[in-house]
Symmetry: C2
Subunit: 345 residues, 2 copies
Amino acid sequence: MDVNRAAGRPRLADVAARAGVSKKTVSNVINEFPFVADHTRSRVLEAISELGYRPNLSARNLAQGRTGIIALVISQLDMPYFSELARHVVDVAQGRSWVVLIEQTMNDRTYEQRILDGDLSRRIDGLLFSPSRTSAAALHRRTDATPMVLLGEVIYDGMFDHVSIDNVAAAREATAHLLSLGRRRVAAIGAKGSRARGASRQRLEGYQQVLSEAGLPVEPELIRQTPRYVGEAGAAAMEELLDLARPPDAVFCFTDLLALGALRAIHRRGLRVPDDIAIVGHDDIPYGRISTPSLTTISPDKRAIAEIAVDLLEQRVSNRTPPPPREVHVEFALKVRESTAGPAG
Amino acid sequence: MDVNRAAGRPRLADVAARAGVSKKTVSNVINEFPFVADHTRSRVLEAISELGYRPNLSARNLAQGRTGIIALVISQLDMPYFSELARHVVDVAQGRSWVVLIEQTMNDRTYEQRILDGDLSRRIDGLLFSPSRTSAAALHRRTDATPMVLLGEVIYDGMFDHVSIDNVAAAREATAHLLSLGRRRVAAIGAKGSRARGASRQRLEGYQQVLSEAGLPVEPELIRQTPRYVGEAGAAAMEELLDLARPPDAVFCFTDLLALGALRAIHRRGLRVPDDIAIVGHDDIPYGRISTPSLTTISPDKRAIAEIAVDLLEQRVSNRTPPPPREVHVEFALKVRESTAGPAG
DNA sequence: GCCCAGTTTTACACCGGTGTAAACACCGGT
DNA sequence: ACCGGTGTTTACACCGGTGTAAAACTGGGC
């Protein structure tokens, strides 16, 4: 049975018949092929609008091997950082007449592997992938040829296009800011195990560099690991820090969610931010702007991340000869707010 | 030039040749058509895995008139409520082997109209749409036949499937909770103009009902409109309330973002929550759980919204004879936290 | 050994577009 | 009248699957 004909949807052939031209001519008009006579074009356009014709994208995709769809694969859409990133990616893509399909890995290694294996390959032109559990080795093994751009934090020695901020530099700036306020016992919340190679590793590195350069000791008790980057983990880590014989007077939290959790833990103890403890976060999520106190944070240029990522992907999709992998660093800025500067005026 | 062949991707025909059967038999195996002899099936499966064959979805879509894609159209992906909703929709869809394409209208009426006109129709099987600027009249005029389920708050007299919570009941419960704490000057933040018919209208209605039933006056000065549902607007509205000769002792905010803004404004004045003013929000966004104080809120069952919406859409997509429009109310719960109950323990 | 019903497999058209290469129209120049 | 060139249009194969209906095979009953 013929579903589409039953639904009465006009096809290219119907338009062609009505306009008295060949299918291909109609196709040429639609695709703005330059050598179409004006009177032909207008006859065709008229027929199109009379019939309310719209191209069948499945057919077009099949014919030209493109889908007009890119996938954004992230761990979880309701983590504020990813929400914002996704919002910008969808936005930017919309402007390039691409449409975005979103998948969540929920930090599941198996699922990330499926994505690498090309689970989506037949329905997308390209892939923006923010891996969280995937090893460099697993990336090396990738056989699927769908163009891919990596987002986010983990560095995989330049085998693929990769867009991120310079995490070491960002951590340096955050830590230096705390020192510039006169703080001397600066803690870090959000480290991962020593074998980690991702953002946490780099942020820790920046933090340690600045302390050392300032002649301050890097004290292991001030560096707290967190199982996940969620508020509860930040609060728990902060509790531990507050229980130390000599608690810190400042904390650099590797994400804003951790920082907000820490903020909460400090308040519960009846201490004040920034008077007793200053806090800097990372990511510049919206909550940090309306929290009390508002949160000083490293603000990655998420719009730029989205734009560059889509750009790179676009080039990779359309170039017959793919460019060599590119590593792009995006701007970031330290946004100083109340959690280090105190209440405004 | 033949892109796909160049890329060396095996086709159904290649599998068929290798297994020594016809294309259709391979197709039957893939689609688990029951009448395939066991030895044939295993020969085919072997060929499939030897070649690493994967079906070309564009071709399949073209042949069967389905895409396996649904669209979720919301105003903005980085509004926490929508982030969470999207997360669940993607999640649920993943379990039904559907994949989700997300578009943002950014509250643009024109763009919403384009969606209704079927901008996406040729690439999706169905549409989950959370309108924000679309009138009932515009919905009536819809001609595109893509199955659609409406999400969210605005009610359009039952022309389409619609999933939401009972906003009036939710607002009643929130307001009643504040009264049960002994508060008597309960304000409302987040009303819209009197011609509004959406959630704001219903929440206002529930609020007013409860006040009246308790024999309390509904005072216009305690009802604040907000241009947008963002923190800044909530803070501004709260400032106005605090400037009243007789400020409120409790506030029902129509969204959590408004509530968090209000919280901030109250803190800036040196007042305390809930001691001086108790606050209830709506949506149960994640930050309300880690704010200081944490936020009492109406918590819609977002998972259920996603599940039911996808269910309804699925039925509508697969039924030849579409069911009549269904209006479904999803459970909600009042989550009592510190902003009304005070610090725990 | 033949027929029939039930099971399994196949040939072939079709989904609705795009690419290729050839055909055609029109023009000025010889 | 014929030619070449530019501009415009067309026929037809093809993208890679699925649906239909008919063909081929199987085993049991007679």
